[in-house]
Structure formats: structure tokens, C-alpha cells
Amino acid sequence: MSPEPGSINLTDRIRGGVDPMVPRIYNVERIRRNNHDTFTMELNPADGGNPEPFSAGQFNMLYIFGVGEIPVSISGDPVQDGPLMHTIREVGTVTRAMARLKPGDSIGVRGPFGSHWPVELAVGTDVVIVAGGIGLAPLRPVIYQVTGNRSRYGRMVLLYGARAPKEILYQRQLKAWGGSFDMDVHVTVDRGERGWNGEIGVVTGLIRRAPLDRSGAIALICGPEIMMRFSAQELLRRGMDKDRIYVSMERNMKCGVGLCGHCQYGAKIICKDGPVYRYDDIESLLGRREV
């Protein structure tokens, strides 16, 4: 994928004297709870400079000193100045340690790494975002970018599936986006609860009913791999072309620069070639047990 204007290229950064293996120290500015096991961390460089610029869909390696380092997608606005934002789910030792950080604590950040969502390709066409669970976080930068320059794009449709109403991410923002009259927001949950009058069912059901211009629309999918597979198949059934569908893959990234091979996926190295892929580039790998 060719870089977008203004996108961040790792080679340029190395030429500029940045060693991608050395973390830059950031301080925790604020931690906000999104739901019972997910939080968003806002970080600023300890040296007083600006956070590294990034493109929507890229990730950083976040290092809790003495505990470990993990890859986390960037969930903030790629266009506006402001703190670096990561939305994180507590699923292991490092993320649990991150949840215990307090404002002023330090964290190491390497990145941004990887490919990005092809937001420029969407100019003049409809944008369909299909997200599942925490998969909304890597797509939020796209929403910021599109809503920040709304007239450049066609219809914007956000289809989001969560496990239960209380686990819906960015609830206030979803309500605001849905009420903004220039974005179709549809949310469904796998399990309803008392008081929930919204949709119950899987996100693929939303795709069947979504208003989209299938001839030109671009679809960006992020969530559990099975959900992405089924969503892509449903979009294809709706008449979308394979080369207009993009997915974000997740593997155990370690070095972030394609050297260690930890995140190898078939012939691809996800930290370097991905995490964002055009669907037809990885279709043959999806669902294969050996990779």
C-alpha cells in the first residue's frame, strides 16, 4: 500500500536518526475507563515535545518497565494535535499493569509502526466501517479523520457489534456520531439486557441492512478474526469488490520492524506489511489452521 500524503514512514524516521528499537519516554496524562475491562490512556512525551505523528490504523509498542512490552493500536485523532491515545483491554500481565498506572507515571513508546487504513482511497466514496468489540479502537482515528473533513467523503456508515450493552466502547461518542445527521451508526449486541431496546444479533446482520453504495464504497473491518471473515463474506454478498475491503490483522508483534518474525502470517510479517491489509491480499490465509 502506498503511503498517504503525510503518512509516517519508518524508513524516513530511521534516516532521521530515530532508532525504532529504543523507546521514547512518555508520561501518563490521564486514564479514562471505557467499560469494566477497557480503558483509554492519554500520553505525552516526557521531554516536552510533541507525540510522534501517526496514520490511522498504525500501532505502537508500549513498554511497562520491568513488566513487558505489547503492541497497541493508536485510538486518537491523527490530524489534531493532542496527547497520544491508546484504548486497552485488560487481558494479561502487561495490560493489567497499565491499568494501574497513574497520571505522571512513565511508559516507553516505540513506533508508530505498520500500514494504515487507506483513508485517501475513500475520498468521494461511501465509507463503511465494520467493528467488533475492542476493534472499534483502531478504527476511531478513521472516524476522526473523515468527520474532520466530512465534505470530502460520501455516506459514512458505522456498524458496530459488542458483546453486551455495558461493553459498548465509546458510548458517548457513538451517540454523538449517530445524532450528527451525516453518519449512520448502527450498534448491535450479542446478548441483550433488561432495558436494552437496541439491536440484538451479530454485526453481519447489520451489513445485510446497511445503506451503502456498493459500487464505490470502501469497507474497513476490525475485530476478532472470525468476525472479520464473516463480515467480509457478507460485504461480498452485498456486491462489494474484494479490492475495496480492508481488514486489520492481529498477531504477537515484538520488534515492530519486521526483523524478529514473531508476527509472521504465511509469507507476511504483520508488524511491517500489516496490520492493515486489503482483503484479497490475505483472503487465502484467513481461516487456515496452519498460519
Binding site: 487481558v91 493489567r96 468489540g133 440484538i200 444479533g201 464473516f230
Partner: protein, 168 residues
């Protein structure tokens, strides 16, 4: 009256359920159809009752529920505009398996399933077209149920230590 029939016809024929049907089959469906409005909270049918009709939603939302002692009606799926509510009418013993409750005021096309079953027996081509469509509804719901069973968005760490702090 003419307007009502035209509205019914356009609502019915626009439904995904009718996509690809022959004109003669569409006419059979139209003869078994009438339009209904249902307020929020009304039940379209209850588990265990005879499935002698089914609905196509024009607008609004319907929840499929299972009544659970001490827990009330548990919603397992919602149906929205364009969806078919009720697929048990074609599959013996033709008894509803769930409750269907209106969650948002609905405009519906109601179909006389008892008469449609007779048409299915009399005209195997029509019968096959109906079986194909109801099988599609069942297949989509089976796929969805399987995905829901996988609990794809569940936290693998659930049940272990998870910080409980204020949610904003």
C-alpha cells in the same frame, strides 16, 4: 382502498423475502397478505401457539424472546425492517418456538401462513420457493447463533482479576 392495496403491494414486493419470486408466486403471496400496525410492547405471537401466520417488517423492531422463570423474557435476537418474523409456519409441527414482542412501533405485512401452506402443497414450485426462503432465514439465524455462541468479544481473562474502577 386502492392506495392501501398499492402500499401493501409495494411493501411486500420490496421485501428481501420476495426477491427473485415469479410474478404468479408474488400474486399468491399478495392474496394472503394484509397490513398491520402494532404498538410497542404488543406480542405478535407466543411460544407454543399455532404458527398460522408470519410477518415481514416494513418499519419498526421486534424482539424474539424466551420466557425464563424468575428472569422474565430474555431477548435472543431482534428483527428490523425487511426481516421476516416467524419461520416456524412452514416446518412441522408449525408451532412458535419463541415469543415475539414489538420493541419499536411496527408497520408489518402479515401473511396468512395456513393458506400459504395449502398453496405449497398444491404447487410444488411455489412450495420450493417458500422452502428456499425460509431455509435462508433459518441458515442466517443459525450462523448468527453460532457466532454468538463463540463469544468472540469475550475477555479471555474474564473471571480473573480485573480492576473495577469508575466508568466515565
Amino acid at each position: 382502498m386502492g392506495d392501501t392495496l398499492e402500499t401493501l403491494k409495494s411493501d411486500l414486493f420490496a421485501a428481501p423475502f420476495c426477491e427473485g419470486l415469479e410474478d404468479t408466486h408474488l400474486e399468491v403471496l399478495l392474496a394472503c397478505a394484509h397490513e398491520e400496525r402494532m404498538p410497542k410492547g404488543r406480542f405478535l405471537f407466543h411460544e407454543g401457539a399455532a404458527a398460522d401466520y408470519f410477518y415481514i417488517i416494513v418499519s419498526g423492531r421486534v424482539g424474539l424472546e424466551l420466557n425464563c422463570p424468575n428472569r422474565g423474557g430474555l431477548s435472543i435476537q431482534t428483527c428490523d425492517a425487511g426481516d421476516v418474523v416467524g419461520s416456524s409456519w412452514l416446518i412441522p409441527p408449525c408451532i412458535w418456538r419463541f415469543d415475539a414482542r414489538v420493541l419499536e412501533e411496527c408497520r408489518l405485512v402479515s401473511m396468512d401462513a395456513a393458506v400459504l401452506r395449502e398453496h405449497c402443497k398444491a404447487d410444488p414450485t411455489f412450495g420450493y420457493a417458500m422452502v428456499e426462503r425460509i431455509a435462508q432465514v433459518k441458515a442466517e439465524r443459525l450462523d448468527a447463533a453460532r457466532l454468538q455462541l463463540l463469544d468472540l468479544y469475550g475477555n479471555p481473562e474474564e473471571g480473573r482479576h480485573v480492576a473495577r474502577t469508575r466508568i466515565d
